[in-house]
């Protein structure tokens, strides 16, 4: 039996507005203008011919306007016609949970709109079909943490509330947990008293997120649950190219020296990609451009070589030629460059010739040697007597080589220099007396040595000691990890200072002799660092200066003392957060200010932890460069969109069915939504199109009649 039902019957009341044209018609007759006119005789003669036609047109016009309003009221009330409509009227109430996939892959564009926008449009159509006693709720597939903790929303039939739920859904960088989302939906449905329950999932069916889902593993699955999956996009894998990573080598980045930037580009596609353009921008300016060819499912490294900009913090961006999924076509990086470190090398035992001096090998090692001739260090030799005339703050690192003693003023100056962030390196030698050194540099009110020196240890010519590298090498000597450790262990030591074991606890041992005694120790002092070599800087007690390892070791240690490690690629994270940031704070503690790429300024307070503060930050919501500021330091954090959703391999129907066992899933394509006679589609035939055509036709005829009058 055929029937007519209305999804929005309240709009039928709008049909009462059909009386408005009649009222207007009657009022206008009484409100006609009166005009005294001399040529009435011609009007009378003309009226005899036209009056009847005019009245006919007027009545026709009136009827058309009334009809137009009635059609509009019918259209708004969304009538449906057919025997399904009659059946729907007789069906018991149904509760529906609409799950909208808002994972990041739904930002893929098949045309102008993203799949998420289309999913929301489809959800809107479904919601329009919900009327009491049926009920529904709209949920995002990927819920924010706040949503997960909150009370689940209630089922309802209030169209405005449902639309609000749907509009609130936005794309999420968070990991997809389909099992949790389905579990949540089932709990909501189980709380409903409606005899019919259905779960509608609007998704692109990319495989990511489905790996860990099996319906059978969820507790308490209702047997009568109808599962309806609407697929957006094609069942085939969508092609997508992305930037998977960017690395800048080799730190430290010294201004005006060459920097190698490697960009990894991946092709998530079954087809090769040719001549894919990759742009590298620094501070918004394009500094490099390359074309990449990628085979199917291949990742290639695209190299760039740029010149390091002036000392300071810099941000860069790599852009890939845009495709349908633009979110992973950009990659943000941040880096810091510094000027070459000024190193004051103090010679405590100047020889008669340069070759005989204590600092000959060290100065040779620190001399500029770069492919572009740009130096990493600017070493300046100085005889120990001249130290009082030097302004220490002009230097990053001061190296004391076999210096016998220093005046209290110089010691005071050195102590302040280190506390302010400078680096101080001691080399031992025959002029170093342990007792005097401990008095001057360890036990005084301006302590500088990491540990107290012990007695010198003499090895025989036949049995010198060598160096050994610990497994967990300190960052200052990390350059020797791996195969390069042999370079270090070949050096031989014939004499060195022992250190007081019981007082070495506060210092880090960076390198040791193979007899277990420390060779190199380090201790932080204020914001600076002090390093102690227990042997000489020249060949007096060791052959290390003649070894290959000497130059990299000195570079690494002087760079560490000068704190050049910050002149590197700044930290980067992928959305979603949270992550933590480390930044130099003041002695008293302070606050961290974060300036986000979208212009928001966030302030968080934190406690000091030995000058370095570490703050958990969960404010990253958009990709870009975040500027972090404390009272003592400024840094950049590069935040990039998640790459977890970049592979658009699709879950196939058989796999989908298997994952939903023991229930059967109705899979429907986006374009065919509402056409399946499965009880989940909207009941009855849509007759809005016919009504709309009729309305247009009536309005056209009305327009013609109105113009003829």
């Amino acid at each position: 039996m055929f029937g007519l039902m209305f999804l929005q019957p309240a709009f039928l009341l709008a049909g009462l507005a059909a009386g408005v044209p009649i009222l207007i018609h009657l009022i206008n007759r009484h409100r006609a203008l009166v005009h005294r006119f001399p040529a009435l005789r011609f009007l009378l003669m003309a009226d005899r011919r036209t009056a009847r036609k005019f009245r006919l047109y007027q009545l026709l016009l009136l009827a058309l306007r009334v009809l137009a309003i009635l059609l509009l009221a019918l259209l708004l009330s969304q009538p449906r016609w057919g025997d399904e409509a009659s059946a729907a009227l007789a069906l018991p109430p149904q509760a529906t949970v609409v799950l909208v996939d808002n994972s990041f892959s739904m930002q893929f564009r098949d045309g102008q709109e993203t799949r998420l926008e289309r999913a929301k449009t489809l959800a809107g159509q479904l919601l329009d079909g919900i009327a009491a006693p049926d009920s529904a709720v709209v949920l995002p597939l990927v819920a924010d943490d706040a949503d997960t903790d909150a009370e689940p929303p209630l089922l309802g039939a209030d169209a405005a509330a449902l639309w609000d739920q749907m509009r609130a859904i936005s794309a999420s960088h968070a990991a997809v947990d389909i099992a949790a989302a389905v579990q949540r939906a089932i709990e909501i449905l189980q709380a409903s008293t409606a005899p019919r329950r259905r779960l509608m999932l609007l998704t692109d069916l990319t495989v990511h997120g489905w790996e860990g889902f099996r319906l059978s593993e969820l507790p308490r699955v209702p047997e009568d649950l109808v599962v309806h999956v609407v697929r957006l996009g094609s069942p085939q894998r969508d092609a997508n190219a992305l930037i998977s990573g960017v690395r800048v080598t080799e730190p430290p980045f010294i201004e005006q020296t060459p920097l190698d930037v490697t960009v990894w580009v991946r092709n998530h596609s079954d087809e090769p990609v040719r001549s894919l353009r990759v742009d590298l921008l620094l501070g918004g300016e394009t500094v490099g451009q390359q074309l990449a060819d990628l085979a199917a499912d291949e990742e290639v490294a695209v190299p760039f070589r740029i010149v390091a900009p002036q000392a300071g913090l810099h941000w860069g961006e790599v852009r890939l030629q845009a495709d349908a999924f633009t979110e992973d076509d950009r990659f943000y990086v941040a880096l810091q460059t510094v000027a070459p470190a000024r190193v004051l090398v103090v010679d405590g035992d100047p020889g008669t010739s340069l070759f005989d001096s204590e600092t000959f090998y060290l100065l040779s090692a620190l001399q500029p040697r770069g492919s572009l001739g740009s130096p990493l260090f600017h070493p300046k030799p100085l005889i120990w007597e001249g130290l009082e005339q030097e302004r220490l703050s002009d230097y990053s690192v001061i190296v004391l080589c076999n210096v016998e003693a220093l005046s209290p003023q110089v010691r005071q100056g050195l102590h302040q220099f280190v506390a302010d962030g400078g680096g101080l390196i001691f080399f031992a030698g025959h002029q170093v007396d342990a007792t005097r050194y401990n008095t001057l540099f360890y036990g005084s009110d301006t302590p500088l040595l990491p540990v107290a020196l012990g007695e010198p240890v003499q090895q025989s010519e036949e049995a010198p000691v060598t160096l050994q590298l610990a497994d967990n090498a300190h960052e200052a000597v990390a350059v020797f990890t791996g195969g390069a450790a042999d370079m270090l262990t070949r050096s031989r030591f014939y004499r060195y200072f022992s250190v007081a074991e019981d007082e070495a606890a506060g210092a880090d041992v960076l390198l040791s002799y193979d007899d277990g005694r420390p060779f190199l120790l380090e201790r932080s002092l204020g914001r600076g660092r002090v390093l102690l070599f227990t042997s000489t800087a020249d060949r007096d007690w060791t052959d290390l200066p003649t070894r290959t390892a000497y130059v990299p070791l000195m570079h690494s240690l002087v760079g560490y003392a000068a704190q050049l490690s910050k002149a590197a690629q700044r930290p980067q994270v992928f959305l979603p957060g949270p992550t933590s940031v480390r930044i130099q704070g003041s002695q008293e503690g302070g606050s961290l200010t974060i300036l986000t790429p979208d212009g928001k300024e966030l302030l968080s307070r934190f406690a000091r932890q030995e000058g370095i503060i570490e703050a958990p930050v969960a404010e990253y919501t958009v990709p870009g460069i975040y500027r972090l500021s404390s009272s003592a330091d400024t840094d950049y954090l590069a935040v990039n969109a998640t790459r977890a959703e970049s592979d658009f391999t699709k879950l196939q129907q058989a796999d989908l069915q298997a994952r939903w066992q023991p229930l059967s899933v109705i899979l429907e394509e986006e374009a065919a939504l509402g056409q399946q006679a499965d009880g989940t589609a909207l009941p009855g035939r849509e007759i809005a199109g016919i009504l709309l055509l009729s309305l247009v036709a009536v309005l056209m005829v009305e327009n013609v009649c109105a113009n003829r009058l």
């Binding site: 206008n28 007759r29 006609a32 203008l33 009166v34 005009h35 005294r36 006119f37 001399p38 040529a39 009435l40 005789r41 011609f42 009007l43 009378l44 003669m45 003309a46 009226d47 011919r49 036209t50 009056a51 036609k53 005019f54 047109y57 007027q58 003829r708 009058l709």
Partner: protein, 309 residues
């Protein structure tokens, strides 16, 4: 009979001074009105007449033919040429013009206050013509009428007469129905001396009756000029809204109409009406001219007089 509306009275008072506005009349003063068919009169001015007038002027010589009066032979010419010539004369006479002005209620209509009513326009036209002709020494009479003759001012010349005409024009209040036929027939009996008859009206009457009377003027050998004055609303019918049209002369006669639907038929009826007048006037040698009230008065007169020349 209804009195003139306040608007109409105010409008005419404002115009009282401009009936003889020099700016209007200066353009017309240098033109001359010449009757084309008034040939009886003698040449005594710019209007030549085959009829006897105040003075005699030599016209031409022609050779004597048997039958001519002997006393008309020019003996001086015979002495010069030794042949007989007859001397012929023309008499120049003053033109006698009658201005017939329709003062029925239908003339008291204006599209809006920014334009002249039909009567204002017609009265200004009549005054301008009177000034022109009196300045040339012609005699001008004025008749105002509706269903019958309201006042008849016989033709006279002189500036004092002009003042009398103007005073009357300013005092006239258009009223009553239009019955041109009987009024004009009555006038035809009064105007015996041949002259120029100028009828100024909207001619919203039975055309047959009006034209019959105009023909009778022609039969009495008058030169007849017809100035039909119509308002822009009458000619274009630009109304848009649903309107009750009420006859300006008979308030009981009214019609509710949607103007856009009736406009085409109305204009067709009007054109038929105007076309009939034009056709019959042309056939009977009556000079017909249509003046919409939107036509500037001096331009209309200049254009018309140039055509008359």
């Amino acid at each position: 009979m209804r009195g003139a509306t306040p608007r109409a009275v105010r409008s005419r008072r404002q115009l009282g001074r401009s009936y003889f506005d020099p700016l209007v009349l200066a353009k017309i003063a240098n033109m001359s009105v010449r009757a084309r068919h008034v040939v009886e009169g003698l040449l005594s001015g710019m209007h030549k007449s085959p009829y006897r007038g105040h003075s005699v002027e030599f016209a031409e010589h022609r050779e004597y033919v048997p039958g001519d009066e002997i006393r008309r032979i020019d003996w001086k010419a015979y002495g010069k040429f030794d042949r007989y010539f007859i001397k012929e004369y023309e008499e120049e006479t003053n033109l006698r013009a009658y201005l017939l002005l329709d003062a029925s209620a239908s003339m008291d209509y204006a599209a809006d206050e920014s334009v002249l009513s039909k009567f204002d326009y017609a009265a200004t036209l009549a005054a301008s013509l009177a000034y022109l002709m009196l300045r040339q020494g012609d005699e001008v009479g004025l008749v105002t009428f509706n269903t019958e003759v309201q006042r008849y001012i016989p033709p006279r010349s002189g500036t004092r007469h002009l003042r009398e005409l103007a005073t009357h024009l300013e005092s006239v209040q258009p009223h009553g129905e239009t019955h041109l036929g009987p009024a004009l027939r009555e006038l035809a009996g009064k105007i015996r001396q041949r002259g120029l008859v100028i009828v100024i009206s909207d001619f919203f009457d039975d055309p047959e009756s009006v034209l019959r009377t105009l023909r009778s003027f022609r039969h009495r050998r008058h030169e007849v000029l017809v100035f039909q004055v119509l308002d822009r609303n009458e000619l274009e019918f630009p109304f848009q809204r649903l309107t009750v049209f009420e006859d300006i002369e008979q308030a009981s006669s009214r019609i509710l109409s949607e103007p856009r639907s009736i406009r085409a038929a109305y204009l067709q009826q009007l054109q038929t009406f105007l076309g009939d007048y034009q056709r019959v006037c042309r056939r009977d040698a009556i000079d017909y001219h249509l003046f919409p009230t939107t036509t500037p008065l001096d331009v209309a007169l200049t254009r018309y007089l140039a055509r008359r020349q």
